[in-house]
């Protein structure tokens, strides 16, 4: 199995953790793996992206334009920004939760209205309000693990490996909540 996975978010949404979990499950499935986390100026509020490449032999951690198999977008506008990196027919998992950039907040421009129409026909698109589902599970912060659960449907990796790696990487008091989020995402029963 060779997969190029892109992740995108606004700082503070748990992207680095998600990238780390993807890397670890790939390693434990016997694959080669390399990742990037591109973190800009600020911890919070800026756009950030990650990439995970897994397969038999991986050289560069970078994903070239139109080479992405799966896009996990924790924020809707950031999904649009990453579209040029996706293959035709790829899998796009998008959180509909909106975080407004300063330009939108200050009413200089609209929050891009064309995101859903741009995604249509690009491949398999799974849109959900992951933040709302995560709040129902117990905390908005588990939206990232919920979305990893959805991505797991497209990766041939045992649930046992996922569960173990999640247990080892999330705060102890939120382990059960995160496992539940993963399972709901994987089963699609959120």
């Amino acid at each position: 199995m060779a997969k190029n996975i892109l992740l995108t978010a606004v700082g503070g949404q748990g992207l680095v953790l998600a990238t780390g979990i993807l890397a670890e499950v790939a390693l434990r499935s016997g694959l080669d793996v390399k990742t990037n986390d591109v973190i800009g100026l600020s911890q919070r509020g800026g756009k950030i992206m990650g990439s995970v490449r897994m397969g038999e032999k991986i050289y560069s951690p970078n994903i070239a334009p139109k080479e992405g198999d799966i896009l996990i977008a924790f924020e809707a506008l950031e999904a649009k920004r990453m579209l040029p990196y996706m293959k035709e027919g790829g899998v796009i998992i998008k959180n509909n939760y909106e975080m407004v950039p300063s330009l939108v907040q200050q009413e200089k421009t609209e929050y891009d209205p064309d995101i859903d129409s741009l995604l249509t026909g690009k491949g398999e698109v799974i849109s959900l309000d992951a933040t709302a589902v995560a709040k129902r599970i117990g905390h908005p912060a588990v939206a990232n693990i919920l979305m990893l659960g959805i991505a797991a449907r497209y990766l041939e990796i045992d649930d046992a490996i996922w569960h173990q790696v999640i247990r080892e990487n999330v705060p102890e008091k939120s382990i059960e909540m995160n496992i539940e989020a993963f399972d709901l995402g994987k089963a699609g029963t959120y």
Binding site: I39, Q43, A64
Partner: protein
């Protein structure tokens, strides 16, 4: 053997541990912040965040002379701060192995410039190693200590931001037992004054030349022969990116980029029809070859700035006629609303910049989270140069303006981390050169942490964890002789605005210390606020504070009014305090907002 998937930074930390390293020092700066934090996880090692890079380098120099393997890490511009001790230490004979890790930032994802520190490594007569993934980052760290002790030189391990944060699989090894080499005083080795410096010049040159001689046989400099047509000479991540483009071209992968095995490369240049150098930023390897009269290409095909990604390398090779068919698309970006970074919800800098924006004063900036005060929508800061520069700059600007009859107030800002990093000597100067007629207002934004790099301690931040080793900024400035010093709680918006506004009008040097800690690092979370749309007059005073949860929203039957996303609000109360009609209230509270006690 245990295999783990770790970042380049973590791999260097592991390599230091496996090499038996014992003293490490750093100043936090992206992309190498996490390196020292990872070293701190090994209790055998002494690892400190020092007050600046010069001090960090000096602590590591002391570790080396004191007899243990020592490492210092810093971002590329940090090496500038440390250049003074480095340029003389490099003349000495190291005792314990010494490695300087320089985190370069091609593409400037989090830096104010793009300087290529290979130049500085050469300038300092240091061998430079350039790993291409996490495994090499670990292996090269261990090799760097061996080279350091064999050739008696400090060694530079140069790593780029991409690789610092990139994870890949690393095989862990057992740590070596550290070797303690007791300090033996030796004036010729450690005391760099003439005549001892005369010999040092020869020693530096000879050791680098010796290393260049053996570089052709080093395993980390590896020839991967394919055809006799083109040979690409490359190093670091560029090797991995190139391999993602093609495996059909001959490659000479350098693990050590200085000194180069020039004679070996000269032999190669006779075997191959063309030599192409692939490197990010400056033509460093290319220039080394050219000054040694080895014909090559490089920057005619690849950009001198920014990162060289897979598709950029492919395009350069197509332009150069090396490959014909394109596998990769060039990026055709979709026009998407820009998302600039902004102050966090509850950030203590927000009310300060809201007040300064309304003051219309000229504000001199410095380096830290508060540098974001220069971007839209605040656009308050008018300069941004380097750590601590605001303190000296404000003096020179004041002089230049006053001598031309321009007496409008000048304000400058500095954070607590930057104050201790390199602001102190500027303040000493400011006091010594003080003129009571000059109008300068200095805001020290003390948030008790080095916030931008993820919340490392500063010299004033121990007050938050009770260790009692903190230095109070007011005490320091009082001792220097500044007398117009006020502390303000910027979450008491109106009082803070009055204090700052009054100070700006007074002549002399006024220092205002803002005291609220970083909302993110100290995880400040109070019950959130909400907007009562029936009271809101849509004046946008709150929205202009640029707090992430605030947004104008269309309410049914009421119209366009302000709103607050409860998931993002941490309850700092600033929006409620700037609201002229008390439309913003704290959730679960009958009383209206107004203060956050």
């Amino acid at each position: 053997m245990e295999r783990k998937v770790i970042t380049g930074n973590q791999a260097i930390a592991r390599g230091f541990y496996e090499a038996g390293g014992r003293v490490a020092a750093s100043y936090p700066g992206s992309p190498t912040v996490e390196l020292l934090e990872a070293i701190q996880a090994y209790p055998e090692i002494y690892a400190e965040f020092s007050t600046n890079e010069k001090v960090a380098l000096e602590v590591a120099i002391g570790g080396s002379i004191g007899g243990v393997r020592s490492l210092t890490s810093m971002k590329h511009v940090g090496v500038n701060i440390a250049m003074d001790p480095l340029m003389t230490f490099t003349q000495t004979v190291i005792n314990g192995g010494f490695v300087l890790v320089s985190g370069d930032d091609p593409g400037m994802s989090s830096s104010q410039n793009e300087q290529d520190n290979r130049i500085l490594g050469k300038f300092a007569n240091m061998p430079i190693l350039d790993p291409s993934d996490a495994q090499e980052a670990k292996d090269f760290t261990k090799l760097a200590f061996e080279l350091s002790e064999t050739y008696l030189r400090p060694v530079m391990l140069r790593i780029t931001s991409r690789l610092c944060h990139s994870r890949s699989i690393v095989t862990l090894d057992e740590p070596q037992a550290p070797v303690y080499k007791p300090f033996v005083p030796d004036i010729a080795k450690y005391c760099m004054l003439p005549p001892y410096t005369y010999e040092a010049q020869h020693r530096m040159r000879d050791k680098v030349a010796e290393l260049a001689q053996s570089a052709g046989q080093m395993e980390i400099n590896r020839l991967e022969h394919r055809t006799d047509d083109v040979l690409i000479i490359t190093s670091g991540l560029m090797y991995q990116n190139l391999k993602s483009v093609t495996d059909d071209i001959s490659v000479y992968k350098l693990g050590m980029v200085y000194p180069l095995p020039i004679e070996y490369i000269r032999e190669l240049s006779e075997k191959y029809r063309r030599i192409i150098v692939l490197e990010e930023m400056m033509p460093f390897i290319e220039d080394e070859l050219k000054i040694n009269r080895i014909a090559c290409e490089g920057k005619n095909l690849f950009s001198f700035t920014g990162e060289l990604n897979i598709e950029d390398i492919e395009m350069g090779l197509i332009e150069g006629g090396v490959i014909k068919d394109s596998k990769y698309a060039q990026l055709s970006a979709l026009e998407t609303t820009e998302r600039a970074p902004l102050f966090c919800s509850g950030c203590p800098h927000r009310p300060v910049f809201d007040i300064l924006k309304k003051s219309k004063a000229i504000v001199i900036g410095d380096i830290g989270c508060y540098s974001m005060g220069l971007i839209y929508p605040f656009e308050v800061l008018k300069t941004n140069i380097s750590m601590g520069a605001s303190v000296g700059m404000v003096k020179g600007m004041r002089k230049a303006m006053d001598m031309n009859g321009d007496h409008q107030p000048l304000v400058a800002v500095i954070g607590d981390g930057t104050f201790f990093h390199s602001g102190l000597s500027g303040f000493a100067n400011l006091k010594y050169q003080m003129n009571d007629e000059e109008n300068i207002t200095y805001l020290v934004l003390d948030n008790s942490t080095t916030a931008m790099t993820g919340g490392q301690p500063t010299s004033s931040s121990n007050k938050m964890d009770g260790a009692g080793q903190d230095i109070l900024i007011d005490d320091v400035l009082q001792s220097m002789g500044f007398h117009d010093i006020v502390r303000v709680d910027q979450f008491q918006y109106k009082e803070a605005a009055k204090t700052i506004g009054d100070a700006i009008k007074r002549p002399g040097i006024k220092v205002i210390i803002t005291t609220r800690p970083c909302a993110l690092h100290f995880k400040i979370r109070e019950p959130h606020f909400y907007v009562d749309p029936t009271i809101c007059i849509a004046c946008r005073s709150c929205v202009r504070t640029n707090c992430p949860p605030l947004r104008m929203k269309q309410y049914d039957n009421i119209g366009l009014k302000s709103s607050i996303d409860p998931d993002q609000c941490v309850g700092c109360s600033i929006c409620a305090q700037v609201c002229p009609v008390n439309a913003i209230k704290r959730f679960g509270s009958e009383t209206q907002g107004g203060s956050n006690g």
